[in-house]
């Protein structure tokens, strides 16, 4: 050992050698992240569900109802319409071919003219929650306009102007502005948590795997020796190459999302790069913590896997953390992804200044001191190798 190179640089060189000579790392560092990025960048080309098929059942079959069916067919921007009967519609909904169905009741025309206020119904399928919500809001707006049209016609026949009539028919006009995502693009908020989420998972696994390899192959003592007997130096030298690879990856995907695909960004991109860098480092530190707790590669990988998959649910995208049970809310704080996503939506989407989110930044920094808790145990495992190889 005497004639070998020592110090952080030597560890670093050794790690780069290991990293570039194993096919496993090519998969982990390049191929899987690339696959995931391409997947999420291409899986939702429309951004918002479009052309969702719904059915119309016309029990009345009158001039008015047929006219209405025509108008629905012409006005529905995000739905395609199919004419059918009720039994068939229900069957098609159960088969997943239709997402909902408008029913015009029998005697609709007669009931309107007699003032019986007949009721149009829209049945939709909430098992597909996304598709269901989109069709529901489209159809509700459409039905509102259609039923208002009769009222408008009567008023105009009485000589009211359009403006006067609308002032009576719809005195209060609400407009909802989605902050930072005017097109209601699902990709905008899904991609910005799914890709970092997968990245977090891969970083934890890579860290645990690469340190675990030393323990499993019984090279950990050599690794520590090269680092002058200091585990901190050994870790810095080992993790630096991966940090570099993952940070570059994060920068590339953020640049593509914000600069090329023009996803909403209301702060300087530097803040998002900082956010991503903190996420990468926090994930590496978690990896060190896990292998330190369980210094057997396979056990630490099981733990990382169980943890990494849960991060998605606890990040509060799609279902907000505030709506979870209170102890689950507390539990969400053990996942850096939760803070990453919070910073993303507060800063990139809402354009808030960083000091509003200083707690989230601080929380990400807390993850960076986690390895300190476990260093003695990990060092013992590396030097004495008293754990099973796995």
């Amino acid at each position: 050992m005497e004639n070998m190179e020592h110090g952080i640089l030597a560890v670093l060189r050794r790690e780069v050698d290991r990293m570039t000579s194993r096919f496993m790392f090519l998969l982990l560092l390049v191929i899987i992240p690339l696959f995931c990025f391409i997947f999420f960048a291409t899986i939702m080309p429309t951004g918002m569900p479009k052309e969702l098929p719904i059915g119309i059942v016309d029990h009345d079959n009158s001039i008015v109802s047929r006219n209405m069916v025509r108008q629905i067919g012409a006005t529905s921007a995000n739905t395609t319409v199919r004419y059918t009967n009720y039994a068939e519609a229900r069957d098609l909904v159960q088969r997943g071919k239709l997402y909902g169905c408008i029913v015009i009741p029998k005697d609709f025309e007669r009931d309107v003219s007699f003032g019986n206020q007949p009721r149009l119904m829209f049945y939709y399928n909430a098992v597909y929650l996304t598709a269901g919500s989109v069709t529901l809001s489209n159809v509700s707006t459409m039905l509102g306009t259609l039923t208002g049209a009769v009222n408008l016609k009567t008023r105009q026949a009485r000589g009211q102007t359009l403006e006067q009539s609308m002032g009576q028919i719809q005195p209060i006009v609400p407009t909802v502005h989605p902050i930072g995502n005017p097109q209601l693009n699902y990709a905008v908020y899904l991609i910005n948590v799914l890709i970092p989420g997968i990245l977090e998972l891969l970083i934890i696994l890579t860290t645990v795997y690469s340190i675990g390899e030393e323990l499993k192959r019984r090279t950990s003592r050599e690794w520590i020796q090269i680092a002058d007997g200091s585990l901190s130096k050994a870790l810095i030298g080992k993790l630096l190459p991966y940090l570099l690879v993952f940070v570059v990856q994060a920068f590339v995907y953020l640049t593509i999302l914000f600069k090329i695909l023009h996803f909403p960004l209301n702060v300087n991109i530097g803040w998002m790069l900082l956010n991503a860098m903190l996420l990468v480092m926090a994930s590496q530190c978690l990896g060190v913590l896990f292998i330190g707790i369980l210094p057997v590669q396979r056990d630490a990988l099981s733990l990382s896997s169980l943890y990494g998959v849960l991060a998605f649910s606890f990040s509060g995208f799609t279902f907000p953390i505030e709506s979870m049970l209170s102890w689950v809310q507390g539990l969400s704080c053990i996942f850096p992804l939760r803070f990453y996503f919070r910073i993303y939506q507060k800063m990139a989407l809402n354009g808030l200044d960083w000091y509003y989110e200083w707690q989230s930044f601080a929380a990400l920094l807390v993850f960076l001191i986690l390895p300190a808790l476990i260093l003695p145990r990990l060092k013992e495992a590396c030097v004495y190798m008293q754990y099973p190889k796995g």
Binding site: G115, Y124, E322
Partner: protein, 407 residues
């Protein structure tokens, strides 16, 4: 003579298969790593996911209201907004600046802005405009605010209209008919409380079955390779010298465990956590038989490519998220590009999730899901043949390496 030999081979094959199955079960139950994946993940994850999404719906989303009108009408509007189950008015301010500050510093996820002219507009018969700004961290916030403000605007608007018409001499009934010549209603056919858990968890339950099976079987295969002589795929023992019997034997072992896990996941969990459960137990078994078989052979086919015990975690785990996405649950199938739809066809979970959603959450019958069921059977058949071929190839490789060593 020939007939006797065939019978003999078949009999011997079955005997070996049973031996292999019991040996495999024994190995599984003595390997903590596999047990954690099959039982800890397979049985505890369903509970964890149910707890995370326990509340099903987003209620009382906190908003701040900027009331520039300061009129009894604007106050009435705010009261009505606050009364909806979707939204809770936590702050009232009279400047947009203050509301923006609250948006940054508090939990407020939306701002509703009532203009100065609100009451005057309404009283003089002009349309007035109310704006809402919503945080897009999740679509559910948007949905809550959208629903609340639309409902209140429509409801209050109609009352104003009726009042105006009555002031012109109509009776209440006449005025109501004029204002609403026809009504409309919306009803969720299935998942009638539009619950988030009821929508997502059935998909996740199916995925858990497939993913834990692939990971568990992958660990088993990787471990074998680490322990076997010359890192061979199968143990160098006589009973394993037949691809078909080994595949059937091991398949039976996984199948037995996963029928149990399947029933726990898909029959017990939905009832315990009050998720949709329209499916009858017989139908569930009729679904589980091909779905579990497809997953077992799929897992066994992939396992051939894992050379170390831990590789499967590192290389396979990430697929869970894309697979969930392609299943048709979170994102409508009609909107998935055809390349990815084709790609998703290789995974049993894709058709498993679609079939189970329809049977379990939408009360469909088997004749309505022939497409999904047919694919599950096709995948079972295809992966069975693939696994047998892969095992045969591995046996050949193992023997070749062994012969080389002996030379």
């Amino acid at each position: 003579m020939a007939v006797k030999t065939i019978w003999h081979t078949i009999k011997e094959g079955f005997r070996d298969a049973i031996l292999i199955a019991s040996e495999e079960l024994h190995t599984i139950f003595t390997d903590t790593g596999v047990l954690i994946i099959f039982f800890a993940a397979g049985l505890i994850y369903p509970v964890v996911y149910n707890l995370v999404y326990m509340n099903e719906v987003v209620r009382e989303v906190p908003v701040a209201v900027v009331d520039m009108s300061h009129s009894s009408m604007s106050r009435q509007f705010i009261r009505h907004i606050d009364a909806t189950p979707d939204v809770s008015v936590d702050f009232r301010t009279s400047s947009l600046e203050e509301a923006k500050k609250l948006y940054g510093t508090s939990d407020v996820v939306g701002i509703i802005y009532i203009p100065k002219s609100f009451s005057d507009d309404i009283q003089s018969g002009r349309q007035t405009h109310v704006d809402a700004f919503v945080n897009m961290a999740t679509m559910l916030y948007y949905k809550a605010v959208y629903q609340a403000i639309n409902y209140v605007s429509l409801d209050m608007g109609t009352k104003i209209q009726i009042g105006n018409l009555m002031a012109k001499g109509m009776t209440y009934k006449q005025a109501e008919i004029q204002a609403m010549p026809a009504k409309y209603g919306t009803v969720a056919l299935f998942n009638s409380q539009t619950g988030y858990a009821s929508f997502l968890i059935p998909c996740v339950l199916i995925l858990i079955i497939q993913q834990t099976l692939v990971i568990g079987v992958g660990i088993r295969a990787g471990t074998d390779r680490e322990n076997n002589v010359l890192r061979g795929f199968l143990p160098m023992r006589k009973i394993y010298h037949g691809a078909l019997r080994t595949v059937i034997g091991r398949g039976l072992a996984y199948y037995a465990i996963y029928l149990f896990i399947g029933v726990y996941n898909l029959a017990i969990m939905p009832k315990v956590f009050n998720l949709p459960h329209f499916i009858s137990f017989t139908d569930l078994l009729l679904f589980l038989i091909p779905f579990t078989s497809a997953c077992v052979f799929f897992a066994m086919a992939l396992s051939v490519f894992f050379y170390n015990r831990e590789e499967v975690f590192v290389l396979y785990l990430f697929t869970s998220i894309p697979l969930l996405f392609m299943s048709g649950g979170p994102w409508p199938v009609d909107n998935i590009p055809s390349f990815w739809r084709l790609f998703s066809g290789f995974f049993p979970s894709t058709f498993g999730i679609r079939a189970f959603n329809k049977l379990n959450s939408m009360g469909a019958s088997f004749y309505q899901i022939t497409f999904e069921m047919r694919w599950l059977w096709i995948l079972t058949g295809v992966y069975f043949v693939v696994v047998v071929l892969l095992y045969r190839w591995q046996l050949y490789e193992d023997t070749r390496k062994d012969l080389k060593r002996l030379k």
